[in-house]
Each structure stands twice: as structure tokens, then as C-alpha cells.
Assembly symmetry: D3
Homo-oligomer: 247 residues x 6
Amino acid sequence: MFLHRKELIQPVNVGTPDAAFGQLLLEQFGGATGELTAALQYWVQSFHVEDAAIRDMLQDIAIEEFSHLEMVGKLIAQHTTKMDQTAVGRAPLFAIKGVGPHLIDSQGSAWTAAYVNEGGNVVRDLRANIAAEAGARQTYEALIKHTNDSGSIKVLTHLLTREITHAQMFMKALDSMGKLTDPFFGTIKPDETVNVVFNLSQGEDARGPWNQAPFEYVEHPEPKGGFPPPPVNPDDERASAKPTRRH
Amino acid sequence: MFLHRKELIQPVNVGTPDAAFGQLLLEQFGGATGELTAALQYWVQSFHVEDAAIRDMLQDIAIEEFSHLEMVGKLIAQHTTKMDQTAVGRAPLFAIKGVGPHLIDSQGSAWTAAYVNEGGNVVRDLRANIAAEAGARQTYEALIKHTNDSGSIKVLTHLLTREITHAQMFMKALDSMGKLTDPFFGTIKPDETVNVVFNLSQGEDARGPWNQAPFEYVEHPEPKGGFPPPPVNPDDERASAKPTRRH
Amino acid sequence: MFLHRKELIQPVNVGTPDAAFGQLLLEQFGGATGELTAALQYWVQSFHVEDAAIRDMLQDIAIEEFSHLEMVGKLIAQHTTKMDQTAVGRAPLFAIKGVGPHLIDSQGSAWTAAYVNEGGNVVRDLRANIAAEAGARQTYEALIKHTNDSGSIKVLTHLLTREITHAQMFMKALDSMGKLTDPFFGTIKPDETVNVVFNLSQGEDARGPWNQAPFEYVEHPEPKGGFPPPPVNPDDERASAKPTRRH
Amino acid sequence: MFLHRKELIQPVNVGTPDAAFGQLLLEQFGGATGELTAALQYWVQSFHVEDAAIRDMLQDIAIEEFSHLEMVGKLIAQHTTKMDQTAVGRAPLFAIKGVGPHLIDSQGSAWTAAYVNEGGNVVRDLRANIAAEAGARQTYEALIKHTNDSGSIKVLTHLLTREITHAQMFMKALDSMGKLTDPFFGTIKPDETVNVVFNLSQGEDARGPWNQAPFEYVEHPEPKGGFPPPPVNPDDERASAKPTRRH
Amino acid sequence: MFLHRKELIQPVNVGTPDAAFGQLLLEQFGGATGELTAALQYWVQSFHVEDAAIRDMLQDIAIEEFSHLEMVGKLIAQHTTKMDQTAVGRAPLFAIKGVGPHLIDSQGSAWTAAYVNEGGNVVRDLRANIAAEAGARQTYEALIKHTNDSGSIKVLTHLLTREITHAQMFMKALDSMGKLTDPFFGTIKPDETVNVVFNLSQGEDARGPWNQAPFEYVEHPEPKGGFPPPPVNPDDERASAKPTRRH
Amino acid sequence: MFLHRKELIQPVNVGTPDAAFGQLLLEQFGGATGELTAALQYWVQSFHVEDAAIRDMLQDIAIEEFSHLEMVGKLIAQHTTKMDQTAVGRAPLFAIKGVGPHLIDSQGSAWTAAYVNEGGNVVRDLRANIAAEAGARQTYEALIKHTNDSGSIKVLTHLLTREITHAQMFMKALDSMGKLTDPFFGTIKPDETVNVVFNLSQGEDARGPWNQAPFEYVEHPEPKGGFPPPPVNPDDERASAKPTRRH
């Protein structure tokens, strides 16, 4: 059961409203790396994760992300309180769609659940979450660099901070399963190629620990699969589907 | 510059064509966790990653994923070579759209770049890639469990194996930067709340290393943000926009 | 600030798990008429609605809808606890994407914020909400008709009931502004055609109070706009863009 | 059967072409609240609405909306006849995609049928239509406020007027069924909670007729559903899927 | 200005309702190759095509396609008049979303204007239209092969016929401009590589008139572009963005 | 099997970085008419095309298009190497999402496989490809007209040239089957209306070879289909679904 208190989880005080910056902030309200993606991803995961403690963690963080979505929404609302001619010219989106937040990103694309990465296995879910946190953090850094409003910077820095907190929590959870630094999970045994790496993009090659021993590096990979059989079209009409070339 | 050889990187030999299983395989051709997502994600990242060795790794793996996309496509093509009445009834998709692979998932949704997670920072990119590999591996496991065709199982097991290989490579790369187990990256200093965790979903709480010391656990979080100011609509028309209630 | 309690707002007890019915239930989790659409629509509206009491109502109902989304998610989770061969055959979606709810509709399409209808004016918002409730109620009725599981029917009937409650609340709010039965709102004065209705689809015409007095019914409408000027292409290249026909 | 006359249903005469305003106008050509949404929504409804008179009304209005879509298209075409350097700088969309209307909104997002709200029940359909008209009217008001071109204002005011006309017609139709002010419709009997309202967003609560008698107001709602059972993963692999934590 | 007559442009009489076939028919109502795509594509083109005669043709055909969309809608409506248990089991889409047509394809994906191909040049438009007709014809052929209902076959054969008619008309129009068999159009002069063709997919090569003289065939293409400069990240933070590898 | 060489297929040298132009270039990276659409369309077709020579051609061209996608990506990367305040103001997209290419179009919409046109028949595929080339060429022309950077113009002119080359190759292939100028293909015999053309958009009619002999021109088309039967709702609840009008 959800509950809501009208006080914000942390204060939001914009100094100088700037609708164009408000539009950029949409990236964290209705964008791919935004709080809605995080909140829904973690919360949906909690429906299938069997470990009670990890499930509890997912719900705790999901609810915090909903509270952060609210903070971002309030930031946008405050940045769109002055829609003079300049503001309208720079951010016509709010003139057409109304002020305040909308479920779109900074380019006006509607939020889609295609952003959400979850399903079937808790290790997969937690890795998806570390990625989600990294994307969110990155966008907050970009936003902080493009405003001078100290009130906005304070809020965005807090939100960025919390993404690091969450990333750390997800790392701890993975680590508790031994899966933070171990690529393997699940029940299927890999085949014998698991340590082979291929130099498929050639020229100015540069190496690193990811293609040195114990990896077996194949400098000039060759196809092992042979020529595949030609396509078969099961309802092939001889007369017309097969081209009768005129040359 | 891209080059192509018609031989497959690894063999693909389906024993018993099964169009319904072919439809499930679309999940890894045009689906969220599929090879196209991986190939394009890593390859697009390579345009902005400055470290030459990591960039080379991203390109090497991207090209392998394109070669895997080709293998999945061949699997689907072979599974749709017999479209008798039963096959059409179970997988009408191929009867309507034609046999062979299409850029849609197992539910018929068109592939979208919203699945791709990249941009702005190599740590963010590599974390996104570990997540992508985990999703791909999970779907391959699900596919393997739902077929009895040994030829298909062999191919899918190889593709699953390679996702583990790639995950390991991405982990090595992150580790070489000290970012595999360190949640922090980027240039913005977190605020003082970085170690605080909130019990926002209450009841049957369960704890783990993610909310024990050194984390500071807040069992009954309270809002710190106060009541936000009410919305301001800058082009407020007094007469009609403000509701004049009749009660 | 959001809070969550792990107890459900109302009980959810499925008698006989049926994965195919679970798939239909996705329509109310990640579908157009589902609880996520309602929850987010009302909540986003609350960021720009100036009337404090209506804003409070929007938030109250939004939070209830989140709690209902949780109930629908639990219904789906319970319906996908038995994935035997029959269940997999009828609902392969859960075999591929994992059991439990996902943010997709019953046809596998990802939820999109394009479903959300809000912005700029409280009357518009409330009318959108009455429409949203009607769509949700209609889908619940369809779901109830396609299951025999009494536990599911009980839950779905409750959720349907609450949509009626919410519809009534939105109607009361509109009525308090005098806008439940008055088509007019906003600040722009309509032109002189406001009472004219056109018979533009002709044959077997049937009339009703919507095209009788005081409406002025035009039985054989004629264009009033004259021929529009031909298109002008501002960077028209005379030589090639203008077709030089060979006949 | 559709027919078309090249004369417009009403005149469209732009005084001063302004490509940036032309881009805003796309919102009503290929946007969520635009004429295409309305035309297709009402017309698709007419395929399942059984009442002949309401079906006729839906078709009459749908055809008018197609004629309005044509007017909006002509407005955009006229606003994009002068693509000098300033115009290109402010509305590069037309420089890249060509002048005249496209099936995208003012932010460049492709029109999607996810905007369309219809199906299964005429009351649901009519409520969706009143919402659609309100959205369209709201966007027309926003557009009128952001242009000084009297020719454009005249056209937009007419189009806004007609949305009010249509809203009134849909209201009349709902009223003829007794469903304009009655939230109930359909065949499922609500449960006993139909008059209960919950104060789920707490703090600075404000009341209105929507949560006063005859509604039963629950000021401090408690969960009634108890703790749900934990998730069950039917193809649970004991060995690896269940996390074996290391702490 | 649009007009509508309730009589269909051609008769539609389904013999035996089959909801599953009705679902397949959605491909031509709300699918990529369907009548809505064609109708809107040609009609939107007419707003920017300057040649009056071709513009008239585009409008004539667009209006016919709207009339065909109506026929497909009626086909679907008739195929969904018997929703017994078998029909619901095979086509639950109509049980959930209501009977009759919806703006989705046979897999349940919402129609999107991303299917529409138009803009900027009449030659481009006409080539897009020939492609659209070919796609529509192909889907009609697939549909005809998957029904035994003679009434449906008659309707679908007519609709397929008209796609051929339209293709022929578009070919005539292109031919009148000398652009049916001439690849060149527009105002930019190609560079010197226009006749070079590359053998970039190697192995089991097969040749045809498209890579024989006058084409210059490059059997073993080599990169001509040299190594590109490495990426430059303009807001590069030396300290943290550049990975400091630990090996 | 895919291979990659880090040298570009042709050189890419931007003289003056211009982030706003870089944003326009996204249209050919992640937009409808871009290189990704072409590459994937031709390559996916190759999985079902049975003619070995045409299949080889499709693969050759697909691989070239991937190489062109790489060139466009490098163009964008070079145009976003200077993100000073002006650049950020004109192209904030790169400030938020990171520099370099992304899989979105110039308006920020994610690439979707809905752009891809393929399936079931090689004639259909080749016609789709000629259309794809025409769209790509048109966008390149638009881009060339909106930059003064000679390095960019050189690259774009080359890419435009290759679209003409490919169009010519596809035309040769169609011609080899006798399908370049013959609208008919496939196995279904058209009905007797194949030469009839309808004047459905009336007023200022203009004629051309597409509606002159041997076409039979119907100047005043009448519906031939009669009135369709009214909709039937199979689970019609007499009591409530059928409106009981109150007038």
C-alpha cells in the first residue's frame, strides 16, 4: 500500500526560474535515465525477487525514487513559473503543453517502459540497477554543469548523491551473493569458448586486462560456422516468387 | 569500415523446425535483451570513449554481437522453413510478415533504440554493458529451457557463453579503472547523505549488508523538505482558469 | 514524499493460477487503461493544478491507484506461479520475460506516456480523468467476464468499484466549477458557428438531441473555404524539383 | 465511402508566415491532442457502437475533424513558405523533413495510436471524446496566445469553437443515456466500498464535495489486505537462482 | 473538405466469422502495410507536392485508401461478431479491447506515423508510394492464403487489385517525369564513385546486372578513409573521466 | 560473420565543428531515412531472399551502409568536439546525452524498427529499398544545403552519391525480374477493376497519364457496396450497454 505526505523528502528551492533549464530537467522526470525509470524498475522487480531482504531493499529504494521524481517535478514546476517571451521562445514546449512536469524527456519524447530492464533473475535485476544508477548519475552531472542556480545545484547534487548510495547498496547485495565480480550466474554451463576473445575490429589495436591471459586472444579470427544453407520459403510459388531474370 | 564473410562465426544447425520457438527467438533478434541492442550499444559507445584500449574492446565485442545477431537470424530462418497449418496456427506472425527474422521481439513489438543505454562517461557505459549482458544471458537461459532441439540448444548455449565472456571483459575493464566495486565515479562530490539509507517500505522488514554499518539506517524516515509552494501558472486567466466552485 | 507499507490496501487471493489470464491482466498493469496510466496522470496533474482542494484530491486518488497497481501486480504474480507446459504454451510471454508483472500490456506492448492525458487546465485534466476511469472500468468488466476464479473476480470487482468512485469524485469536482455539463471552459470566446452541426456522413442518417434545436443542423454542408493556394516550396530548384513530364 | 472536395471547409489565410509557429501547429496535426487523434478516435468507435443515431453522430464529427486536420495542414504549409536563414534556425525541422505538415507533434515525436481511447462500450467512448475535445481546445488556446497573426488566430478560434460544439454534442448524447452526471455504467455491480474515499496524500489536506457526505471519508487509511505471500518462481533452480549470501 | 457516405465503396460480406482471422486483418487496419499508412502518406504528401496533376492523383488515391480502410474495418467487425469461448481463446485481444477494428496491428502494436515515408521531393514521395503499395499487396496475399472464407477472399482480392492499380498510377507519374528507371533526381551532382560497386560481403559471391559493366566492381575493397582521429570530449575532466587504470 | 577495420571506408574531415549541425546530422544516424534503417533493412531481407545473387547484392550494400553509418557517426563526433556556451544553447541534446552520435533523429526521437520495410517477397523488398534510397538521398540534399563546411559537404555528397548507386543497383535487380516497370507481382490474379481510376477528390481536377487510357476514369464515383450491416456486439448486455435514451 502506498502512502504520501505532501512535504518533500528534501527541500526544493529554485532561485531563478529558467524554463529552458526546466526543459533539460525533464530528462530526469520522463527521460530514459530519470527517476520514473528507476522507481518503476526496482518496484516491478520486487514482484518476482524471492529473497525477502533484497526484495525489501528494492522496495525501499523504489519508494525513495518516487520521492525523488516528486522533487524533480517540483524543480521543473518552479523553473516554469515565469513564461515571458524569452522563456517561451527558448522552451515553447511548456507554452504548448502547459507548465510543470510532463512524462517526456528533454527532447519531447514520451516515457516508455522500454527503458525498464528487469525480469527472471535477481542477479540480472541488480546489474540492471547499477547501470540505471550510473545513467542517472551521469545525467545529474550534466545538468549540474549547465546551471548557475545554486538552489537547483543543491537539489541536483543531493539526487546525484543518492544514486551513488543506491549503486553502493546494489553492489553490496550482489556482493552478498558473490556476484559483484563474478560474471557467471544462472544454471546453464558455458561451453569451452568462455575464455576466448576475438580481435574483430582490426587496426590500431590496443590491449588491456580484458584480452590478456587468462583470456585466449585470437588475433585473426576466422569463421567457424561454414556457409549457412540458403533461405527456404515454405509457401514458395514457383511461377512468380522466384525471380525470372531477363538478362 | 565493415566487412562481412558469408560463413557464420559459429555453425547453426536446427534439427526440427518449430515456428513457435522461432517466434520466441525473435526476443534475441529484435527484442530488448537481443543481439542488436548489444551490438549497437557497444558500437555507439565507441564513438565517444576516449581510452583507446577500451574503445577497441567495445568495437571488438560489438562486431562479435553483429555476428551473433546473424546466428540468431539464421536460427529463426531455419525454424520457419516448415509453415504447415499447425505452425501457422501457433506462429501466425510469420504467415503475415513473412518467414525468417524481423526486427521485432517475441510479442511483435518493433525494436527501439530506447533499449540502448549509453552516453557521456565510460564508467556509465561499462556498467550498462554488464547489465545488457546479464539480460541477454537470462533470455538465452529461458530459451534453452523451452526447446528440446539439440541443435538449437547448442547454438543458444554458445551465445549464452559469449555473454558471460563479454561480461567478464567489461568487469575487467571497470576493474582496471577501479570502478568495479566502487560506486563513485565522475567529478561531482556527493553531499553528506551518501551513507544514509531509508526504510521507506515498511513491514516485514529484512536487513542485509546494504543497510547495515557503515550505512546509517533510518527506520522511520520523515520528510525534510517541508511543504512545497503551490503551483504557479504564469499565464493564469483569473476569470476562467481558476475554478469558481459552486458549493 | 512517498511511503509504502508491505500490506496490500485490499486482499488479493487467487484460487487457481492461470498464466493466460495473467497475461490478460497485464492490460491493467502496463496497458493503456491500466492503473499506471491513472496513477501517473493524476499525480502529474497535481504539479500544475492551482486549486488546493482539487490538487489534494488528485494526489489522494493517484496514491490509491499506485496501491491498485500493486494489487494488479500481485494478481499477475499469483497467476504465474504454475508455469507447466500448458501454461507456457498459452502464455510464453512469462517464460521468456520471467514470471510476475511487467510494464507491458496484454499484447506485449511497452507502456508509454502517450497514454497520459494532462496539461494546462484543470477542466481539461478532470475530463481526461473521467475518460481514464471509464476506460479502466471497461477493461475490468472485460476481465471479470473472462475468468471463473472467484478470488480474481472479487479483486477485479473491487478495482472496478473504485474506478466508479473516482469517476464520481471527478464529476463532483467538475460540477463544483460548473463544468460537468457545460462544454465551455477557458478564456477564448467561440465564434458564431458554435451551435452549427454538419451532416457530413450521409445516408441512413439518424438524429438525436445532439443535432436538434438549439443546434442548427446543416443537412447538406458545402465547403466555405474556397480552393486553397497551391503549395510553395521555398527552396524550389526550378531545374529538377519541378517535374518535367514527358508525355 | 469517403469523398473529398478540394475546397476547404473554412478559409485558411495566413498573413505572415512564421516557421517556428508552424512547428507549434504540428501539435494539432500530428500531436496527442490534434485533429488526427480526434478524427480516428470517433471514426473507429463508429465500427462498434450499436446505437444508430450515436454512430451517425460519431461519423459526422469524425469527418469534420478530417476536414479540420486539412485546415491545420494548410496553416502549416502557409507558415512554411518562407524558409530564410532565420526560419531555418528557429525551425530546422522543416529544413530537414521538408516544408508543410508531417505526422509528428511540435517536439518531433511521431503520431501514435496510443493517443486513441476507444473500445467496448459507448459510454466509455463518449467520455473519452469529451476528454479529447478538452485537450484539443486547450492546445488551440495555447496556440492562439502565441501568435499575433490575425489570419491564424481566426482559423484557430474557429477550430477551438468547433471543439466546444463537439463537446456539447457528446454531452447531449451521454445525457440522453442518463450518463452525463452518473458515474455508473456497465453490468458489473460495484462492491460496498463505492462511497468510501481515502486521505492517502496527507498534510495540508483540503476538502471538497468529492470527499464530503455522502462520501465516507477515511482520514487515516490502513491497509486491509495483509502481507501478500512471497513471490514464487515456478522454474526455480535451487542451486544458483536463490542467492547464497556470503555475509 | 471531407465527405462520407455510409454505403461502402465495395461490398463486404463475411461468410463465417473467425475472430483469429479478424486479428490477422488488423495488419491492414492499424499495421505498417495497412490502409491507414497508405491513406495518410499520400494525403500528407499532397500538402507539399507542387505539380497540380500529381497532387490531384495523390488526393484521389488517398481518399480511396480511406474508403478501403473502412472496408477492412467492416471485415474485422464482421469477423468478431461471434466471440464464443473458442474465439476468445484464439483472439483474446477482442475480448479485452472490444470487438471491431482498433488502430493496432495483428501483434497488438499501436499504429505509428513512423510507418509513413514522405517529404521534400515528389520523386522521393512517389518511390515511397510504390513501396507502400508493394507492402500492402504482399500482406493481402498472405491474408488470402490464410482464410477459406470466400466472402473475405473476394474483398481482399479486390483490395489487392487496387494496390496494383495504384502502383501502376504511381509508376506512370514517375515515368512522366522520366524518373521510373532513372535513379538520379534532385539538384546535387554525384561524385566520381557513382558507378563503383563493392564486394563487401564475401564468399559464394554471385553476380548480376547490378554489379557488372557499366558498374566498376571492386572485388576486394580496402578502406580509403584512414584512421579517424580519436574522440574528443569537450568537457573532459582530467581527474576522473579519463580512466586511470590499475594494471 | 562481421569484420571491422578501424580505417573509415572514406575520409571524414570536418573543418568547423558546429554542434547544431551535428544535431541535424542525427537524422542520418538514428533517423527514419538514415543509414541504420538502410543497413538493417537490406541485411534482414537477405535472410529470406532465395535468389543467391540478389541476396549477395543485399548483403554487399548492407555492409556498405554500416560503413556509412560509421562515417555519419564520425561526422557527428567531430561536430560536437567544441561544446562552448553557444553550442550548448543551440544543441543542448549533446550537453545532456553526451557528445558524439546517439540512436535518435534530429528531433530526439529514438530509432525504431517501424522504419524498416521488408518481408515475404523480393519484389516488395526491392521496391522498399528504392524508396529507402530516395528518402536518404533527399535528407542528404537537405543537409548539404544547410552547412557551409566544405569538409562536411564533401562527405555528405559522397554519401548522397552512393544512395544513387544503390538505387540504380536495386533498379537493375528489379529490371532483371521484369518488375521495374510492371506493377504486378505475386500469385494472386487481380479482379476486373484493375484499370479503373476514381476521381474521389473533386474540384480543380488535373489529369495525367495515370488516369488516362488505358485507365478507365470514373469522374463521379458512387458507392457500390451498399449500407453495411450495423455492428454486432457479441456479449451485448441488453440492460445497460444499449443506451436507453431519455429524450
